[in-house]
């Protein structure tokens, strides 16, 4: 009897917490959409900021964030997948690989501001990239790398060994087997897992403050060595560095709305991609 009661209580608590989370996410999205949508106009999306950001549009911040996401993906995805392939397909368990794994999980727990400082030290100053898209993307890539490696390894583990054996038995080399008969099936899982990291990169402020973000730069970048504005940092700037907070509220919510759409957009694209690949590769 008492057991049944505990069961009911536990179930109730879990139910409540689940719906609380859903409710909070829903409320945040609802709030940003309601307050942000009215601020959205063609001009807001396509114009340069004016009057130190209190008027005009946010085009350079949108473009900047877009470039940073692309740069981060272009750097972190190949590196992360390559690391996962090494760890899961080639390396044998040893002290060395245990150290690597320890390093990866430690990296995952490092606060983002530390990545920002590290990126400034290494990419901006030591390697001389300056505050630039390149330095910012590299910094964000370092931050999301652990997520991508772990997700990619999980995806590789999910491919049955019978796929590897079947291919090897036909005379395929190890690399042919991985490239043609393991990676294609693991890719959907790799992408899904990587989305979280990439979405996080799009929304982070701390890693980009010292490595790429410009407070106000009303022009579009011309090369990867240019500074850019970025949505999260622009939002931070609008919310903290502006004197008349009430009149600027619509600008803030509008920017938050656009950031939200981009982050969710990245997720949706990846999910569609995954489900298409997955339908093809089901066993």
């Amino acid at each position: 009897m008492a057991k049944k009661k505990t069961e009911k209580i536990v179930y109730g608590v879990i139910w409540f917490v689940t719906y609380l989370v859903v409710f909070m996410v829903g409320y945040i999205i609802f709030d940003i959409v309601i307050k942000g949508l009215p601020a959205i106009s063609w001009g807001f999306l396509t114009q340069m900021p004016a009057k130190s950001g209190s008027q005009g549009g946010i085009l350079p911040a949108i473009v900047g964030t877009f470039y940073l996401v692309i740069g981060t993906v272009a750097i972190a995805l190949p590196l992360g997948i390559a690391s996962a392939i090494y760890l899961n397909e080639y390396s044998k368990p040893s002290t060395f690989t245990r150290m690597i794994r320890l390093g990866i999980s430690t990296l995952a727990g490092v606060p983002s501001i530390v990545f920002g400082l590290f990126g400034m030290g290494l990419f901006v100053l030591a390697l001389g990239f300056g505050k630039s898209i390149l330095a910012g993307s590299l910094t964000l890539a370092c931050m999301v790398l652990p997520t991508i490696i772990v997700a990619s390894e999980e995806a590789l583990k999910a491919v049955p060994d019978s796929m590897r054996e079947g291919s090897l038995a036909l005379g395929a080399t190890k690399w042919q087997t991985i490239y043609k008969n393991v990676l294609p099936y693991a890719l959907p899982g790799m992408l899904t897992g990587s989305i979280l990291g990439i979405g996080r990169a799009a929304g982070e402020t701390a890693p980009i403050i010292f490595t790429v973000a410009a407070t106000l730069l009303p022009r579009l970048p011309r090369s990867i060595f240019d500074q850019v504005m970025a949505l999260p940092y622009h939002l931070y700037m609008l919310a903290t560095q502006m004197p008349n907070q009430t009149t600027i509220k619509p600008m803030q919510y509008g920017t938050a709305f656009v950031l939200l759409v981009i982050v969710l957009g990245v997720d949706v694209v990846a999910i569609i991609f995954r489900s298409r690949l997955r339908r093809k590769n089901k066993w």
């Binding site: 044998k92 796929m163 590897r164 291919s167 038995a169 036909l170 099936y185």
Partner: protein
């Protein structure tokens, strides 16, 4: 040249040897799974490996195309000579070996690709790019594996959409597509229903003669039906090897007899 004297004349039924196993020991780490196996597998015939579960049939089969290489900590001693080459010699190209020695697994493992791509996988790996040539190979292999009529109108569907028995025949077609001389089969019908099993056995009879087939089975009736030669393994030892007919009617060894008559295993 004329030979006179006590030269033994070639016997009519002395078969040509395709695989010659000499004093083979196999170890998983410290555990010795095969002990001093000596066996000559005749060319173009079906050789069945029987014995109770865990006696080393799969291990032995997988030494023949060096599939055990991919398991860490394994070790081979002795010699396996296939087509007069020691396959464990340092200069052996494992890729070429596995092209000559195809394998079909216990659980059908079609790739999550189309039927066409499943069969074309091997030829593509070995450098055939020409579409017409691939098509020709795919059709020939599927015909050979007795599944062409069932799939010829839907080569683009996933191999996973086929039934278990069809999947296994697809896997056989895939193995045939790289044009091997030897076909290793590890309990190819153990996961299948009786009708599909029948079709696989018919297929083995079809392929006999053109390929040297080594098949593991735990089903003694199956061994008796499909094979010309039978090898009985017990606890990592090859207890008896000979013509299937003789092994099943008058085995030389007490253990073989006990196993065949169902007294153990």
């Amino acid at each position: 040249m004329v030979m006179i004297g006590n030269q033994t004349p070639p016997q009519i039924d002395e078969p040509e040897i395709e695989i010659d196993v000499q004093n083979l020991d196999f170890y998983y780490g410290k555990h010795q799974a095969l002990h001093d196996i000596c066996m000559s597998v005749p060319k173009g015939m079906v050789t069945a490996l029987i014995g109770p579960s865990g006696c080393g049939k799969s291990t032995f089969l997988r030494t023949l195309n060096r599939m055990n290489d991919i398991i860490g900590g394994t070790r081979v001693e002795g010699k396996i000579v296939i087509q007069s080459k020691d396959i464990y010699a340092p200069n052996i190209d494992v890729v070429m070996l596995r092209k000559r020695v195809g394998m079909v697994f216990q659980k059908p493992n079609p790739f999550p690709k189309s039927i066409f791509e499943n069969v074309a996988y091997g030829p593509r790996i070995h450098g055939i790019k020409n579409r017409a040539q691939l098509q020709e190979i795919v059709e020939r292999s599927l015909v050979r594996a007795a599944i062409w009529d069932e799939v010829k109108d839907r080569l683009h569907i996933s191999g996973l959409e086929l039934s278990g028995g069809q999947q296994q025949r697809l896997c056989i077609a895939r193995a045939l597509a790289v044009d091997p001389d030897i076909l290793l089969m590890d309990e190819p019908a153990s996961a299948l229903d009786p009708r599909s099993t029948q079709r696989i056995e018919d297929l083995i009879a079809e392929l006999r003669g053109d390929y040297t087939i080594v098949i593991v089975t735990h089903n003694m009736q199956q061994a008796a039906r499909v094979s010309d030669y039978t090898a009985f393994f017990y606890e990592g030892h090859l207890i008896e090897f000979g013509k299937t007919e003789r092994i099943f009617t008058k085995p030389n060894n007490k253990q073989t007899e006990d196993y065949i008559t169902g007294r153990f295993g």
